[in-house]
Each structure stands twice: as structure tokens, then as C-alpha cells.
């Protein structure tokens, strides 16, 4: 049994270096084919009729005109008469036609009669939520918060904080192409975060064996947690393909449906009361939170108060789920963390302001409450403060001098697990020296393809291009879905194991020719040689030629989620934001944002940095722009498009810097996932910076100009401090 470990720092030629993603050229030239781009022979275009009402019962459906239209090849009712529709956008009928315009005409020709039922779509103001829409959970009580709040030596702060519902808004909409090969076999080209998983979901829905579904996906245009399931449009696409004689049918959601039904992040609002001793020691937390995840719930109590909950003795929490007739929520990068982080770090920042303490000193003082990661946070806080020049630029809240543009600093801390998922990797070394790697994983743009390429090439001592990487097919060895920041640990680990085992087999074949034992050999720089006597060796090609006609194929297994020794979990991070707020217009401008993050062993520094920049930028978008707006009267989403559901552009993000904690104490942990942790803090860091700038809390994200002006008005007029 081989011993698996990562190469020492001085022996790494690829790992940890700044390497361009291997599929970069395919993406910049338009050659990368996404599901949305694939055209199969004889392919039909499918469209879905979505319900226009938030709450209704289907009374009747007349598809007769659509069925007779030239070019229409199949019409299928998805939710028939009698069905109760619980959100606008729910899928009613699917059609397949020879081209898109015909499919659209057919959708328009379908007549559906609905009985409208009462709907409820806006949960932000709890006072407006009717009793039958409140699903309260049990109260959680620890210690004696009331005694702490009544302590005369305490400072107590109360506030309300909230995160609006946002959507995933993947640029490649959800969807797929499905076709039948005979009666019982299906080929699917989906846009999915779970290559090895959703084929089985489809098979189950269709009543065929899982092995009969062949899934292929080379590229995916964004997922962010919203593409783990085959979805109703996936199974219905297969069914309508069958109705059309098995021809390939492509159904991709249009933009409106994508924003209405294909994924949201639940809202969380909270009324918070928090106390500290006059020296700044936090003593108690109380919160009553509420929010919506569509018709389902998303109780965040396990994460409140964020990070400090396990070590804070006195706390009382209650949460009320508010079911709304809106599109269902899906996992969104670091589920519940960004929301609970915003609520916690904003309340603590307000507490620091009431104590007249610099929040940096306040957080440093209370670091013990973060538990075992306190020293990591201390190092990260001090490094981030240096990067943003905190001590030079920070001022007490609201003391920003004259003039309408106010500058402020804010900070936040976050955590995430990111342990490896289970993963299998096949590596084949051919007698001609070429190497193949196969894995049923997916590259979401996170760099997975590049990472496994680096790990394999590093292990064999070969250049990147010597390893041919095949991913995105469910006939390759299974690997986990890309969620929870589990991918990099899982795929690096299974690849390293496969490569080490394959290399050891090669060493056994080569050792006699070098008059050495296999364990005395090393592969580096395109050669196989005796470690203690590098001149005694041969080229990689010569070594592989010793295999004769029999290639080596090895499966490497990262056996179970979280299992060591090649990857681990649990990271911390700190972000600080520097903003300017115009108190006349309410516009917030990002000056600079910094992130200090630990993530174990970095495989590719370039794509790792991109991950963190991307998370921060998405954080700027949800902090300042993104919000699903529902209309009370019609129950419709008013901004299911990209001009009023804004994501922010290249001019909105300001300067950004990323610093990783690496080296001893980090590298030996192996890689820890990075897709989620840095998405958590931006809301709180930016909200705290705005509060520092204008002297008052803007309670709810996104911090729109309207909300800034409303907060200033409440405080006493926007011109009060001019």
C-alpha cells in the first residue's frame, strides 16, 4: 500500500504555481461547446409554457391548435387540470418543434384556463405577514441572556438586519438536450454541476436502468449551487423526445424563467439584541429571524450568531419560516452563511460603534469566541488591516468631515468546511509514454480540469500537455457533485492516488533495467531515475516502452467525504471593504476590497485567486445591486431580466487584493475548497463600511441609493452632516 502525501515544496514544479487554465483557449475562441451550443442531428427545439399566476388551479388546457401546427412534433401536458400551481413560472405544457419560432408559436397557441387563488409573495416586513404564513420553529435558549442584557455594566444594542432574496442568474440557463437510442437508452447533454449524479435521477424518473443514461457535458455556463438536479424540465424533455420518436429535443429555459424558477437564495431578516461588557467582551445574543425560501423553509438557526455561536454562553433564538408563492430556493454558494454573516457581523459592528471601539480591536478582543481557529483569524485580521491600511484610514463611525461624499471602512470574518467529496480517477500510462486521465467530474469554471491536470503531471514529472484529461462524462469513474467546495479536495486526492499507484507500477517495470529497487526511483523533468544518483536513469518514453504492449491503468479513490490524508476541511477568512457614499444621491462606490484566506495547499495559484476575486465581485453585486422584486398584486417577479436584475459591471468593483495563508501549517493539510468561503463576508464588510461612512446602518441588502437615503432620512436628514 503506497503512502500518499503531497510533494515537498522544493520538489513542486507545477503545484502552487500561477498556471493558466488549460481550457482557456477553447473558451476565448468560442470553441468550447456548452449544452446551450450543442446541435444534434435532427434536433427539435422544445419550449415550456409557464404559469402566469403565483397561486392558481389549472382548470382546462386546450392544445388542439398547437398540435396541428406545421412543424410541431410533440405536445405534452406537464401539470394538467386540477393541479394547484404554487408559484408563477411553474411548468404547464411542453412542446417540441422543428425550429424555435415554430415552438414559440405553438406555445402561444395553447389556451389554459386557471382558477386564481390568493397568493402571498413579500415577506420582508414581518408585520405584514399573515398568521397563516408564519411557520415558527422552536425557541433555542442557552445560558441566561436576560441577565446579561440587564447587567448595568453592559452596553446593549438592538437592530434589524436583512438580506433580500437573490437569484443565481446563471448566464447559461438551465436545460439540456435529450434523445433516445432505441426503446431504453437515453443520451443527455445537460448543464449540470453533478455529472456522475443526475443521469441516475433521470433513469429513475423514466423507469430505465441507471446505466442506460449516458451523460456528456464538457462545459457549463455557471451553476453556483442551482444545477444539482435533473429538474422537471429535464425529465419532461426526455418524455417529449420519446413522444417525438426519440429525436433529440433541446429545452433551455429562457431568461425570464431562469430568474423566476431556476434558483434563489433564501432571504433572512432578523431583529437582533446583542450585549457586551464595557471593555468590549461580548456577553449575549438574542434574535428573532424570518425569511422565505419559496414554499419551503430555510431555517438558519444553526448558523446564528455566525461563527461565535458555539462559544457564546448566553443566547436566545427563534426563526419563523414564511412560505411565499415564489420560485423555490436552491443551494447558493455557502448556504445560509452569507445571510447569517451579514446579520451577525452588522450587529457586532453596531455594538462596537456603541462601545466607541474600533471594530478591528473589538473583533481581536473577542477572538476566543471563534474557537479553535482564533489564531488563524488573528493573523488574517492583522494582514488584511495592513493591506487596506486600516489604522490610517479608519475613523469613528460617521466622523467623516464635510462634503457630500463620505468614506468608510468595514470588516467581516467567515468560515466554511470544504472537505473533499468522494472521487474516483482512472489514469492510464501507455507504452508510448502518453497519459490519459478520466473522471466523471465537471469544471464549473473553477479550474477543475486544470487542477487534475496539474496534479497528474506533477506526480509523473511531466509537462501539463503530456496528460490528456477527460471529464464530463458519466461513463468515466464517478466523482462527487461540485457543491460545498468539495471538488478540489476530492479530485486532487483521487488523481494523486491514481498517479502515485500508476507510477509505482511503472517503477516496478523499470527498476531492473536501472539495477535498482522500485522505491529508489523518482520521476521528474521527463525522466525516471534513481533518486540518489540522478544520472542513472532514462527518459519517460524509454521507461514507458518497458511496458511492452500492456498499458498501466489504475483507479485512484478518494474513498469517502472528508477522509485524509490528502485533503481536509475547515477554513477561515477575513474581508475588509473601503467605500465612498454620496449622501446626496445615495450611491455607494467600491474603492477597495481585500481578502485574506486560508485554503490548505493551493494547486493552481492563478485559478485560486480568480475564485476569490469572483466571490468578492459576486459579493459586491449582492451587496449593492441584486434583489428579486415581487409584485404584491400580480404575484409576478417584476425584474426577471438583466436590465432590472442588475449584476454589476467592470466599473462597479473597485480595486481588489487577495492574500492566501500558505506554507507550513497550511500545505500539509492538502487542498481545501475555495468556491464558497470568500462569498460569505462581502455583505457584512460592505454594509459595515457604509455604516462607518454615513454614521447610520442601512439595514437591508442590497444597499441601493433608495435605502441609503431612507436610512439617512430616518437619522435626521441627508443634509444633517453636510
Amino acid at each position: 500500500m503506497a503512502e500518499y502525501k503531497w510533494p515537498e515544496a522544493d520538489k513542486r514544479s507545477l503545484i502552487g504555481k500561477r498556471i493558466s487554465r488549460v481550457d482557456g483557449p477553447a473558451k476565448v475562441t468560442g470553441k468550447a461547446k456548452y449544452a446551450y451550443d450543442i446541435k444534434r442531428p435532427g434536433m427539435l427545439y422544445g419550449k415550456i409554457l409557464h404559469a402566469p399566476y403565483a397561486h392558481a388551479r389549472v382548470v382546462s388546457i386546450d392544445t388542439s391548435v398547437a398540435e396541428k401546427m406545421p412543424g410541431v412534433q410533440a405536445v405534452k401536458i406537464i401539470q394538467g387540470p386540477g393541479t394547484e400551481i404554487q408559484w408563477a413560472g411553474s411548468e404547464i405544457v411542453a412542446v417540441a418543434a422543428v425550429d424555435e419560432p415554430t415552438a414559440e408559436d405553438a406555445i402561444r397557441a395553447i389556451k389554459v384556463e386557471y382558477e386564481r387563488l390568493p397568493h402571498f409573495v413579500n415577506e420582508a416586513d414581518l408585520a405584514q405577514v399573515p398568521q397563516d404564513r408564519r411557520k415558527p420553529g422552536n425557541e433555542e435558549l442557552a445560558g441566561n441572556p436576560d441577565q446579561a442584557f440587564q447587567d448595568p455594566d453592559s452596553v446593549v444594542v438592538e437592530g434589524t438586519y436583512g438580506n433580500s432574496v437573490i437569484t443565481h442568474c446563471c448566464l447559461e440557463a438551465h436545460g439540456q438536450i435529450v434523445e433516445w437510442e432505441g426503446e431504453n437508452n437515453v443520451l443527455i447533454h445537460p448543464s449540470t454541476q453533478a455529472v456522475s449524479v443526475i443521469g441516475g435521477q433521470l433513469a429513475q424518473a423514466l423507469g430505465i436502468p441507471a446505466g442506460n443514461v449516458h451523460l456528456q457535458m464538457d462545459y457549463i455556463g455557471g451553476g453556483f449551487g442551482s444545477k444539482f438536479s435533473i429538474d422537471r424540465w429535464g425529465t419532461e424533455c426526455a418524455r417529449i423526445s420519446k413522444l417525438a420518436g426519440g429525436k433529440p429535443v433541446k429545452i433551455m429555459l429562457d431568461r425570464k424563467a431562469e430568474l423566476m424558477v431556476a434558483g434563489t437564495r433564501p432571504s433572512v431578516y432578523a431583529r437582533v439584541k446583542v450585549a457586551a461588557k464595557k471593555d468590549g467582551t461580548i456577553t449575549a445574543w438574542q434574535s428573532e429571524s424570518w425569511g422565505t425560501a419559496g414554499m419551503g423553509g430555510a431555517n438558519p438557526l444553526g448558523q446564528l450568531p455566525y461563527i461565535i455561536r458555539q462559544n457564546l454562553a448566553n443566547r436566545r433564538l427563534r426563526h419563523i419560516d414564511v412560505p411565499t408563492n415564489t420560485g423555490p430556493s436552491r443551494a447558493w454558494r455557502a448556504p445560509t452563511h452569507p445571510q447569517t454573516c451579514l446579520i451577525t457581523m452588522s450587529a457586532l459592528d453596531d455594538l462596537a460603534a456603541a462601545l466607541k471601539m474600533d471594530p478591528l480591536d473589538f473583533f481581536l478582543k473577542n477572538l476566543e469566541l471563534t474557537g479553535s481557529r482564533a489564531n488563524v483569524y488573528r493573523e488574517e485580521l492583522l494582514k488584511a488591516a495592513e493591506m487596506i491600511e486600516w489604522k490610517k484610514n479608519w475613523h469613528p463611525r460617521g466622523e467623516t468631515g464635510r462634503g457630500p461624499v463620505k468614506r468608510g471602512l468595514g470588516l467581516s470574518i467567515h468560515t466554511w468546511q470544504g472537505s473533499p467529496h468522494a472521487s474516483n480517477c482512472d489514469i492510464t500510462i501507455h507504452p508510448d509514454g502518453s497519459v490519459e486521465l478520466k473522471m466523471g467530474t465537471q469544471d464549473l469554471g473553477t479550474g477543475t480540469r486544470t487542477v487534475v491536470n496539474i496534479v497528474a503531471a506533477e506526480t509523473f514529472g511531466l509537462p501539463l500537455e503530456s496528460v490528456k484529461v477527460f471529464i464530463g462524462d458519466n461513463r468515466y469513474p464517478t466523482s462527487g457533485a461540485s457543491g460545498g467546495s468539495t471538488t478540489v479536495g476530492g479530485v486532487s486526492s483521487s488523481t494523486r492516488r491514481a498517479a502515485v499507484d500508476a507510477l509505482n507500477q511503472l517503477f516496478e517495470k523499470v527498476a531492473p533495467a536501472l539495477s535498482a529497487q522500485p522505491d529508489q526511483l523518482e520521476a521528474r523533468g521527463g525522466r525516471v531515475f534513481v533518486s540518489t544518483e540522478p544520472s542513472r536513469g532514462m527518459t519517460w518514453q524509454q521507461a514507458c516502452a518497458r511496458l511492452g504492449t500492456q498499458p498501466i491503468t489504475v483507479t485512484g479513490k478518494q474513498p469517502a467525504p472528508g477522509s485524509p490524508p490528502l485533503a481536509s476541511g475547515g477554513v477561515g477568512g477575513v474581508q475588509m471593504a473601503d467605500v465612498s457614499v454620496d449622501i446626496e444621491t445615495g450611491i455607494v462606490k467600491m474603492n477597495k476590497m481585500v481578502c485574506v484566506q486560508d485554503c490548505g495547499l493551493i494547486i493552481d495559484l492563478k485559478t485560486a485567486e480568480s475564485q476569490v476575486y469572483g466571490a468578492m465581485i459576486m459579493g459586491v453585486a449582492y451587496s449593492l445591486f441584486e434583489e428579486r422584486i415581487m409584485d404584491n398584486r400580480t404575484g409576478q417577479m417584476l425584474n426577471a431580466n438583466m436590465e432590472f436584475y442588475r449584476l454589476g459591471g467592470i466599473g462597479d468593483v473597485g480595486e481588489m487584493q487577495v492574500h492566501f495563508l500558505t506554507g507550513a501549517g497550511h500545505d500539509e493539510r492538502g487542498p481545501v475548497g475555495l468556491g464558497e468561503p470568500p462569498t460569505v463576508s462581502p455583505g457584512a464588510a460592505i454594509s459595515n463600511a457604509v455604516a462607518n461612512a454615513i454614521g447610520v446602518r442601512v439595514p437591508t441588502l442590497p444597499i441601493t441609493p433608495e435605502r441609503v437615503l431612507a436610512a439617512l432620512e430616518k437619522k435626521g436628514g441627508s443634509s444633517a452632516k453636510l
Binding site: G24, T29, G30, P101, G221, G222, M618, G651
Partner: protein
């Protein structure tokens, strides 16, 4: 992005109003009428059929009517003539993607907001989701597939790779086209010019930091005359 020079046009197919760029008189099969048509007194049918193409008189001018069925069109794309059979209501974007297998330009917002469908038409960036294929006839169309020369990435493409100005890559072709056109107009851009000039495109993964570095590298290489990286 400079706005498309738009004017309302009308097609018999559905009678829908759609935006359009400048029409060149005499273009074969052009279905574009004049803006004044909308302000005029309405439609007067003249000679019922002329060589298979219906013509209506609009404010004193003869205008051909296309559709409602599929018609043959010819597009000049990346220096080559390409033909397709499409309904006149089909956009340039959908023609590129569905008929010609040029899928670099993406359909994302489908209404001229996000820039994922950006191509160049006669040297100007255009949201190809907002231009009809019939209007693009007789013009020089460049898509992201046409930027490479002699198998070498364009300096903008190379800079996107070098600076990791992409993650999932779905917005990338549109950004590459927008940046290429932008840098040809602003070879030495300021951050403010970048914010405005490339602000008509949207990325969801958040690649703007890499993109700023890519624009700086590409600008330098293009100024140095290194057309091919």
C-alpha cells in the same frame, strides 16, 4: 458599447415592431422599410408580385416584404459567404447559432442588456440578439470564431488566457469582442473609459479583475503592433 443605429421597421410576419440598424438600399431580400413608414398614413399594396417578392408602397417608396415563411439569406461572416434558410423574424444571433453552428456568441438576456451575443458588424460592436439576420446581409460580420489568424490567438484572446479573465467562460466570447472593438477605438484606455466602454457586457462569475489586467496587456501588445500576441 456604442448604441446600434436603430430605427423601427415592420414585417408582415406578425406585424411586430422590431429594432433594426441602417438598411442599405438595393440589398437583396432586405425587408426593412423606412422609419417614415410608421409616421405615414399606412400601408398601400402596389403591384402584388414582382419576381416572387411582394412590394408595398410606403410613404411614396417601394419596399419589399419578406416572409412569413422561410427565405434564403446570405451573410458575410469572417470573410466567407454563408447561406441559410430562415424566417425574416429570426435574429442574427439565432441564425449564427442555430443555422451556421457559430456558437461563440451566446444567448443570455436575449434583449440587448448583457452583451454575451456581441459580434462586430461593419467594424462596430452589435448585440446580435437585437439585430435581425436579414438586416445583416451585405455587411461584414465578425464573430469570435474569426479573431484567430494563422492559428494564433488574437492579442485580446491571449490576454484573456494569460490573466485568467474568465471562469465558466460563457460571457467570454462577448467580452473578447467588446474589448477588441473597444481597444481599436481607445488604444490607451483610462479606467473610466474601460468602465464605460466594456460596461455593456456582464459576467456572473466575477472575472473583472482578470479582465482589467487582460485589457492592459492587450492594449500594450496592440500598441506595439503585435497583432498575433
Amino acid at each position: 458599447l456604442p448604441p446600434v443605429d436603430s430605427r423601427e421597421v415592420i414585417f408582415e410576419n406578425g406585424g411586430k415592431l422590431m429594432s433594426s440598424s441602417e438598411d442599405k438600399p438595393g440589398t437583396p431580400n432586405s425587408g426593412v422599410s423606412r422609419r417614415s413608414f410608421l409616421k405615414g398614413t399606412g400601408l398601400v399594396l402596389s403591384v402584388p408580385l414582382v419576381s416572387g417578392v411582394r412590394v408595398v408602397e410606403v410613404a411614396g417608396a417601394q419596399v419589399k416584404v419578406l416572409g412569413p415563411g422561410k427565405i434564403p439569406i446570405t451573410l458575410n461572416i469572417n470573410g466567407a459567404a454563408r447561406t441559410a434558410q430562415i424566417e425574416p423574424r429570426v435574429t442574427l444571433l439565432d441564425t449564427l447559432r442555430n443555422e451556421l453552428d457559430l456558437t461563440g456568441a451566446k444567448r443570455v438576456c436575449d434583449r440587448g442588456t448583457c452583451g454575451a451575443c456581441t459580434v462586430m458588424v461593419d467594424g462596430k460592436t452589435v448585440y446580435s440578439c437585437s439585430m435581425l439576420a436579414v438586416e445583416a446581409q451585405g455587411k461584414q460580420i465578425t464573430t469570435v470564431e474569426g479573431l484567430e489568424q494563422n492559428g494564433q490567438l488574437h492579442p485580446v484572446q491571449q490576454a484573456f488566457v494569460d490573466n485568467d479573465a474568465q471562469q465558466c467562460g460563457f460571457c467570454t466570447p462577448g467580452f473578447v469582442m467588446a474589448c477588441t472593438a473597444f481597444l481599436s477605438k481607445y488604444p490607451n484606455p483610462t479606467p473610466e473609459q474601460i468602465a464605460r466602454g466594456v460596461g455593456g457586457n456582464t459576467c456572473r462569475c466575477g472575472t473583472y479583475i482578470g479582465m482589467k489586467a487582460a485589457i492592459a496587456q492587450a492594449a500594450q501588445n496592440l500598441r506595439g503592433g503585435r497583432r498575433n500576441g
